[in-house]
């Protein structure tokens, strides 16, 4: 309570203070801030800015096309402008691109929705006080602890023709061949692996919710379902949104799980990163960089939309809530004092 009330106050104080002082001081503070931040910005420019720009530059070049009379590859880079980009959307390559694009989007939508539902359920279970809770918490986290390539192999055994999945289902589904079952296999393995991540972040969010809110709700006669949708979900939303955003960014660049579980060059599970990898492994670095840049823009767009549509909302709501909350509380306090 104290934090919510003091935060805006501190804000106004901080905003008000420099206004009272001289202009030179403002500039001095700003210069100091810039100075203190510059190492961070330099590192960011080096490890993020440079690779992005270098990748974009690479995507404008092509090399190693054609052979000379002796059968040797013609050497040297050639500036091709946006040719690598237009090639992505043309002819045979366009089919492969849109297939990979729709696979990537399909995996993102299905796995994130399923992971969110299952992850929240896991968090609610882990939150409960019961005997053996520590054991349940630990075991739920196991899939997240296993490296993706290993869990890919694990699921490959489960999904092979005479594997556990078919034994349990009493079916003969060819999961690891190129086809729709392969998509399903990837979704299942991915959800198994990453639901604990959402569960973990949501659990952290749940533990921030004060117990007395639930007590009050119970006194007012709210059932468990009402409590979940009226109290738990709104209060855990900031943590949940961060978890979902992380997962979305992660699954958009998914590579290792489908590559190990089903294999590369399989239409039904080929993602955008896999096309970029294929181009690079066949020495077309320019084209690979173009695919990577397209994927980068796609990821950036999704992240921007997510933050803009939902993220901006969180802050707005939170501010509104504190503003609304205060008079109510004081009113209740007055009532209590009167009683």
């Amino acid at each position: 309570m104290t934090t919510t009330e003091s935060a805006p106050a501190a804000g106004t104080a901080a905003a008000g203070a420099p206004r009272g002082r001289g202009k030179g001081d403002v500039q001095g503070t700003r210069r100091l801030a810039a100075l203190l931040l510059s190492p961070t910005l330099l590192v960011l420019a080096l490890v993020i800015g440079y690779p992005v720009l270098a990748g974009f530059r690479e995507s404008l070049y092509a090399r190693g096309e054609g052979l000379d009379a002796d059968g040797f590859v013609v050497e040297g880079d050639r500036f091709v402008g946006l040719d690598n980009y237009t090639a992505i959307f043309q002819g045979d390559r366009a089919d492969a691109f849109w297939n990979a694009f729709s696979n990537t989007t399909f995996f993102t939508l299905t796995t994130v929705v399923l992971e969110t539902v299952i992850g929240v359920a896991m968090a609610l279970i882990m939150q409960q006080a019961f005997r053996g809770r520590a054991l349940v918490r630990a075991s739920i986290l196991v899939p997240w602890a296993i490296p993706t390539a290993i869990s890919g192999l694990l699921w490959r055994w489960i999904f092979q023709a005479d594997g556990a999945a078919n034994a349990v289902l009493r079916q003969e589904i060819l999961w690891t061949a190129d086809g729709f079952p392969a998509k399903a296999a990837v979704v299942i393995a991915e959800v198994w692996k990453t639901s604990p991540f959402i569960g973990l972040l949501v659990l952290a969010g749940l533990q921030m919710i004060p117990r007395d809110v639930y007590e009050a709700a119970r006194v007012d006669g709210a059932g468990p379902v009402q409590q979940f949708f009226r109290i738990t979900l709104p209060l855990v939303k900031p943590a949940l949104l961060v978890a979902v955003l992380f997962r979305m960014l992660d699954v958009l660049r998914m590579f290792d799980l489908p590559a190990v579980l089903i294999g590369v060059n399989q239409r039904s599970v080929e993602t955008l990163t896999m096309i970029a990898w294929f181009e690079a492994s066949n020495l077309r670095y320019g084209s690979a960089a173009a695919y990577a840049t397209v994927l980068f823009l796609y990821v950036a767009l999704i992240a921007y939309l997510f933050v803009k549509l939902l993220g901006a909302d969180i802050i707005g709501e939170a501010r509104g809530r504190t503003r609304r909350a205060r008079p109510v509380r004081t009113a209740r306090g007055r009532r209590r004092a009167a009683a």
Binding site: G64, G66, L67, D70, G71, F72, V73, E75, D92, Q160, A161, D162, E172, L174, W175, T176, A177, D178, G263, N265, Q266, R267, F278, S281, N282, L283
Partner: protein
């Protein structure tokens, strides 16, 4: 003792190269990047870059060399197990022109790509004794008639069959044609113990193995994927006949889960007695014949050359070659080392220790070897008639296209004609020169 004449040879070569720019290689004047055969100079420590050595025997062979050549020690650099990763690392090393790698252990299908990119030093044919080697293996080390790599191990597909079941069904020998094979199957399947067995298996999952199966089927019918002039040749009746065999085999004679089985999956199937006929590499022989209980068919199978439509079929040629990186420093030592490792003595030792198929022809007829590896005569026959996979600089793209279209044909997603036409048009730009 061995060194002195060689140094002399190199000096002569260098002198000749200065004056005539021709020694060993006769037509490498214009090539850059040290690709000329005359430029194999420099002695000193070198590195040997290879995939993971599972047998643990390689180091012993290197110890033998190192003891004899204290000033020209060889250090082994082991790359990952996966061929694609090995290729990636070697390419990375080559594109940065690093001299960290000297002798490269290359898969036979990489020769064209590596040579065309000037990543390999051209080798002097007259300084390497190729006369003892199986002729088919030598072609895999060549690009445009110039030698870039020396064959060190070979490999070819063979037909594994259940000798016990065939005998019981009253069949005298292994089938030579597809029709014979299907007829034998029908007879064997009448036996109560073979009721649930599947007739045949060759790999048809969408991996490199699919390309190998396609090469074998199409070449057995007398066709080819890429012709001798480097152009795709899928618009022929032979190519169609080959692919139709694969489609029919998958539909009527293979296990239902065939498209999900890889090489090891096929081996498990055969070892558990579920297959009557199987196309497989030689490495399976020892494992399937082991008496430790892991194989149900130990002592009950034999190998034969692959069948074809009208007589013996054509196997695919696998194996590894040794080459010298164009950016290596001590190329003269590297050449000596290649000669050591591909020599008869080293190959004999390697065969005994690792059962990897040698490239020296005499070893296949050596009674001592045949006693230990009874499949050697069949394998020699298979390698002699074997054909390489498509030779293409853009091999990665070529094999991906072959895998995609063949998979669609075999799984019935596309009619054979359509798949072949599509593949032809996909390969045309990839092989344009």
């Amino acid at each position: 003792m061995r060194r002195t004449p060689l140094i002399g040879g190199t000096v002569v070569c260098a002198a000749l190269a200065l004056s005539l720019s021709a020694c060993g290689g006769d037509d490498d004047g214009g090539s850059k990047g040290g690709a000329g055969a005359a430029s194999l100079q420099g002695r000193g420590p070198i590195t040997f870059v290879t995939g993971k050595d599972r047998s643990g025997y390689l180091q012993k062979q290197l110890d033998g060399w190192n003891a004899e050549h204290p000033k020209e020690q060889v250090r082994v650099i082991e790359l990952p197990d996966e061929p694609n990763d090995q290729r990636q690392q070697m390419i990375q090393n080559a594109t940065t022109k690093s001299d960290a790698y000297a002798v490269l252990n290359l898969d036979v299908v990489w020769t064209a790509e590596f040579a065309a990119n000037r990543w390999l030093a051209q080798l002097p044919k007259d300084q390497i004794d190729l006369s003892k080697m199986l002729p088919a293996t030598i072609t895999t080390g060549q690009y445009r008639d110039k030698l870039y790599a020396v064959p060190s191990t070979s490999d070819a597909g063979m037909l594994y069959f259940r000798r016990d079941l065939l005998e019981k069904a009253g069949i005298t020998g292994p089938p030579k044609t597809y029709t014979e094979m299907w007829d034998d199957c029908a007879k064997v399947k009448k036996l109560p113990e073979a009721k649930d067995a599947d007739c045949f298996f060759t790999e048809v999952n969408k991996t490199e193995s699919m390309t190998i199966s396609a090469v074998e089927a199409i070449e057995s019918a007398g066709g080819s994927i890429i012709g001798p002039d480097g152009r795709p040749t899928l618009n022929t009746p032979q190519a169609k006949q080959g692919v139709e065999f694969l489609v029919a085999a998958k539909k009527d004679h293979m296990p239902k889960e065939a498209v999900t089985l890889d090489t090891e999956g096929g081996r498990r199937s055969f070892q558990s007695g579920k297959l009557i006929f199987q196309r497989q590499w030689p490495y399976q022989y020892g494992l399937a014949d082991s008496g430790d209980g892991s194989s149900k068919v130990a002592g009950r199978f034999a190998v034969a050359p692959l069948p074809g439509p009208n007589g013996p079929g054509v196997a695919n040629l696998g194996g590894h070659n040794l080459a010298i990186s164009a950016f290596a420093k001590n190329k003269a030592t590297s050449l000596d080392f290649i000669r050591y490792l591909t020599g008869e003595q080293a190959q004999r030792a390697n065969l005994l220790a690792t059962s990897q198929a040698p490239t020296v022809a005499a070893l296949y007829d050596d009674p001592e070897m045949v006693k230990k590896f009874p499949y050697l005569p069949v394998l020699k026959q298979a390698i002699a008639g074997a054909r390489p996979r498509p030779v293409a600089v853009k091999y990665g793209d070529v094999t991906a296209a072959v895998q995609g279209e063949m998979y669609d044909a075999v799984t019935g997603k596309k009619p054979v004609d359509q798949a072949l036409a599509d593949l032809q048009s996909k390969l045309q730009p990839l092989t344009a020169q």
